[in-house]
C-alpha cells in the first residue's frame, strides 16, 4: 500500500478519535477559560500537549501558582503511562525505519492513537498510518478546545454526552475482537476491567489517580500474563 493510502487509512480510523477529542477538549476549553486562561493559551496548551488528564491537572497547578518543579512532577506522574505505551509501540516499528519518524510519532502517542496503532494488522506499523491518525486527532483536540474556550454552550449537552463514549467505544473495538481466538487475551481483558473496577470502588485504592492505576495494573497483569503465558515466537501479530 502506498504511503498516501496508508495515511488515508489512518485518517479514516482516526475519525472516531476526532469526534471523541472534540467532546473532551471542549470541556477542557471551558475549564481553561474558567481558570483564567485566554483562548489562545488554552489552544496552545492543547496543541503542544495533546493529552487529557495532564492538561486538566495543569490548570490546577497554574491557578494555584505552584512551582515549576511541581508542574514538571505533576505531568511526569500523570503521563508516565505513555512511557509504557511508547515502549510497547517501539516493538511495532520496522527496525530500519528512519529515526526522525520516531521523534515525530512520539508527539502523538496518546491513549487513543497508541490503541489504534497497536491494533494495526501487521507487526510493523507504517509511519504514514500513524501520521494519518495524528492528522485526524489533532484538529479534534485543538478545535474542541477553541470552541469550549470561546463559548461553553456552542455544542448541545446531548451531543457532548453522546460523544463522551466515542473513545471508549473505540477501545472496545480494539480489545474485544482478538479475545475471540485467544483465551489468554480474553482473561486479560476481563481481569483488567474487574481489577480496574476494584481500584475505583475500594477505599484507599480509589485515591490513586487514574494514570497511576493504569501503570500499576499494567505492570501486574501484563507482567503476570507474560510470565505464565509467554507468547510463542511467531504468534504475536499474525492474527
Amino acid at each position: 500500500m502506498s504511503n498516501f493510502n496508508l495515511f488515508k487509512k489512518g485518517f479514516k480510523n482516526g475519525i472516531p478519535i476526532f469526534l471523541g477529542y472534540l467532546a473532551v477538549s471542549f470541556t477542557f476549553g471551558i475549564a481553561a477559560k474558567e481558570g483564567g486562561l485566554t483562548t489562545w493559551q488554552a489552544v496552545l496548551i492543547s496543541a503542544t500537549n495533546l493529552t487529557s488528564a495532564g492538561q486538566f491537572a495543569a490548570l490546577t497547578v497554574i491557578a494555584s501558582a505552584s512551582s515549576y518543579i511541581e508542574m514538571a512532577l505533576t505531568q511526569l506522574v500523570i503521563n508516565l503511562r505513555y512511557c509504557l505505551m511508547s515502549s510497547s509501540l517501539s516493538q511495532r516499528f520496522d527496525t530500519k525505519m528512519k529515526p526522525y519518524h520516531r521523534f515525530l510519532i512520539a508527539y502523538g502517542v496518546t491513549d487513543e492513537i497508541f490503541g489504534v496503532s497497536s491494533a494495526y494488522e501487521k507487526e510493523n506499523v507504517p509511519p504514514a498510518y500513524c501520521y494519518g491518525l495524528i492528522a485526524a486527532a489533532f484538529p479534534g483536540w485543538v478545535l474542541g478546545t477553541a470552541l469550549g474556550a470561546v463559548s461553553g454552550d456552542i455544542l448541545p449537552a446531548s451531543i457532548l454526552s453522546a460523544l463522551g463514549v466515542a473513545l471508549y467505544g473505540m477501545f472496545i473495538a480494539i480489545i474485544v475482537p482478538p479475545t475471540k481466538k485467544d483465551k489468554v487475551l480474553l482473561g486479560i481483558v476481563v481481569i483488567s476491567m474487574l481489577l480496574s473496577l476494584g481500584f475505583a470502588v475500594t477505599p484507599i485504592l480509589k485515591e490513586i489517580s487514574s494514570g497511576f492505576r493504569v501503570i500499576i495494573l499494567t505492570l501486574i497483569i501484563a507482567g503476570a500474563a507474560a510470565y505464565f503465558f509467554p507468547i510463542k515466537e511467531e504468534e504475536a501479530h499474525d492474527e
Partner: protein
Amino acid sequence: MNNIYLYMFIMAAVTYLIRMLPLALIKKKITNRFFKSFLYYVPFVTLAVMTFPAILSATDSVWSAAAAFLVAMVVAYAGGGLPTVATIACAVVFIVELFI
C-alpha cells in the same frame, strides 16, 4: 504570578520526553521472551483498565453509558470495526437519553 508560558513549556517538554525516550531508545526488536510478551500484552491491559469503569461516568447518565458499553461489547464481538463500534456507542447514548 508565575509565567504562564514557562508553565506551558515545562508541561509540553515533560510530556513529550516521556513519549519520545522509549521510542528513541528502544530501536531493536526485543528478543527476551518475557519482555516481548509483556509489551505485547500492554495495550490490552491499558485500554481495558481505561475503559471500565470510566465509561460509566463519561455521559450524563450512568444508564445511557452502561447501555453503550454493553452494545459496544456485543457489536465488537460480532465483528464491527472501529468506526462502527464508536458510532453505535454514541448513538445508543443519544437514544437512551431521549427517554430518561
